[in-house]
């Protein structure tokens, strides 16, 4: 009677290359998964921003504007009294961040992106760590642009990010989304994108301060 180890080690091996059509089907499934993921992210962001806009509109109708943040003309961003402070928490992988809005923390870290969330928004609205999509609504997202064309920079403002030429622009407003600000700047490892939904309440200066505190490290992918 053979030992169990011998039987386990001698179970038939398979090393034949896979059929071309089967592999093509695997790649096609991957393509569809990428599209679904992209649509999900856009959908979640649009829905969340619409909810925030609805709540803001409702609050305005109640006549309590004196106690609410004021809107900065021209930017569409509310000045919510946020202060930028030194970040002392755990650094994301692939990046270093030195300045964040007071109380905000890095909730998701991948070698290609990280997400910073305000107090009370560290969880909810999607997984905050591990594999899978991380939702950007109400949070600052920083990621590498990759090979895509990036945001439409035709109406973007030129800004300086630590001596490098950056661009600050807005995502187009739609009927369901009041939009968001984006900022891109070059690094030694590619273009960095900072995405800031208007619902975060950050001003343009605060976005610039945040971006100037970002360093892309060699661990980025």
């Amino acid at each position: 009677m053979p030992d169990i180890m011998t039987v386990l080690q001698n179970l038939p091996q398979t090393s034949e290359p896979a059929d071309e059509a089967v592999v093509a089907a695997d790649v096609a499934r991957g393509h569809r998964a990428v599209s679904r993921r992209r649509q999900r992210r856009i959908g979640f962001t649009a829905a969340a921003v619409a909810v925030v806009a609805g709540v803001a509109a409702g609050a305005g109708q109640l006549g309590t504007t004196a106690n609410h943040p004021t809107t900065t003309a021209g930017t569409g961003i509310t000045a919510a009294g946020l202060q930028m402070v030194a970040y002392t928490g755990e650094q994301p992988s692939g990046f270093e961040v030195t300045t964040v809005p007071d109380g905000w923390t890095v909730i998701s870290s991948q070698p290609y992106e990280f997400v910073v969330a305000p107090p009370g928004r560290e969880t909810g609205g999607g997984p905050s760590a591990g594999p899978g999509p991380v939702f950007y609504d109400g949070r600052i997202a920083v990621y590498m642009l990759g090979d895509g064309p990036g945001p439409n920079a035709s109406h973007a403002e030129k800004v300086d990010i630590n001596g490098k030429p950056g661009k600050l622009g807005t995502f187009p407003k739609t009927t369901t989304s009041p939009g968001a600000h984006w900022l891109t700047f070059p690094s030694d490892h590619g273009t960095v994108v900072v995405q800031v939904p208007d619902s975060t309440g950050l001003s343009n200066d605060q976005i610039l301060t945040f971006a100037r505190g970002i360093t892309v490290t060699d661990a980025v992918r």
Binding site: L8, V34, P131
Partner: protein, 168 residues
């Protein structure tokens, strides 16, 4: 981030070379059923594709194995819910004893192991991975791999000789 055409070609080459091996592991992890093994590999490769731009070539195989183990665990949970079927009478003959060949007996015995224990045995003793590699694939500690694989092997040893068919 969508893989570039070049990354698509790399993914295609990787899958062409490794797919059969991944299917084999998946089958062993999900009760030896080829169809379920294929389902698991398709799920795993889809997850792998989503992560492909961030996967380094030297870690691609380990990452793929981890995807397979995760997908097999998910599949196992789904199978567990589907598999419970009441029967009026229990079979009085062990299925194993009617099987011919040690390979089939071992595969059938593997089905009886808990998911983690089975994964540890399959990766350590059938695929020949090191404790470190197995721990990476299972996303657990090396100590856990050692204890799971040892207990799994012990359980297989307990049942394997006892279930040999009696020769006249």
């Amino acid at each position: 981030m969508r893989p570039t055409p070049e990354q698509d070609r790399e993914f295609t080459a990787f899958v062409t070379a490794r797919r059969a091996g991944l299917v084999r592991v998946a089958e062993l992890l999900v009760s030896g059923d080829p169809a379920k093994g294929e389902d698991v590999v398709q799920m795993a490769l889809t997850r792998l594709y989503l992560s492909w731009p961030r996967v380094r070539p030297e870690t691609a195989e380990a990452y793929a194995r981890r995807c397979v183990v995760n997908a097999a665990t998910d599949e196992r949970r789904r199978l567990f819910r589907r598999r419970e079927q009441p029967f009026a009478e229990l079979p009085d003959v062990a299925v194993l004893e009617e099987m011919a060949g040690d390979d089939e007996k071992v595969k059938a015995l593997l089905k009886t192991l808990p998911t983690g224990m089975r994964a540890a045995v399959v990766l350590r003793y059938i695929e020949g991975l090191s404790v470190t590699e197995t721990a990476a694939a299972m996303r657990c500690s090396e100590g856990n791999v050692k204890s799971q694989s040892a207990r799994g092997l012990q359980r297989l040893r307990e049942f394997f000789p006892a279930r040999q068919p009696h020769l006249a």
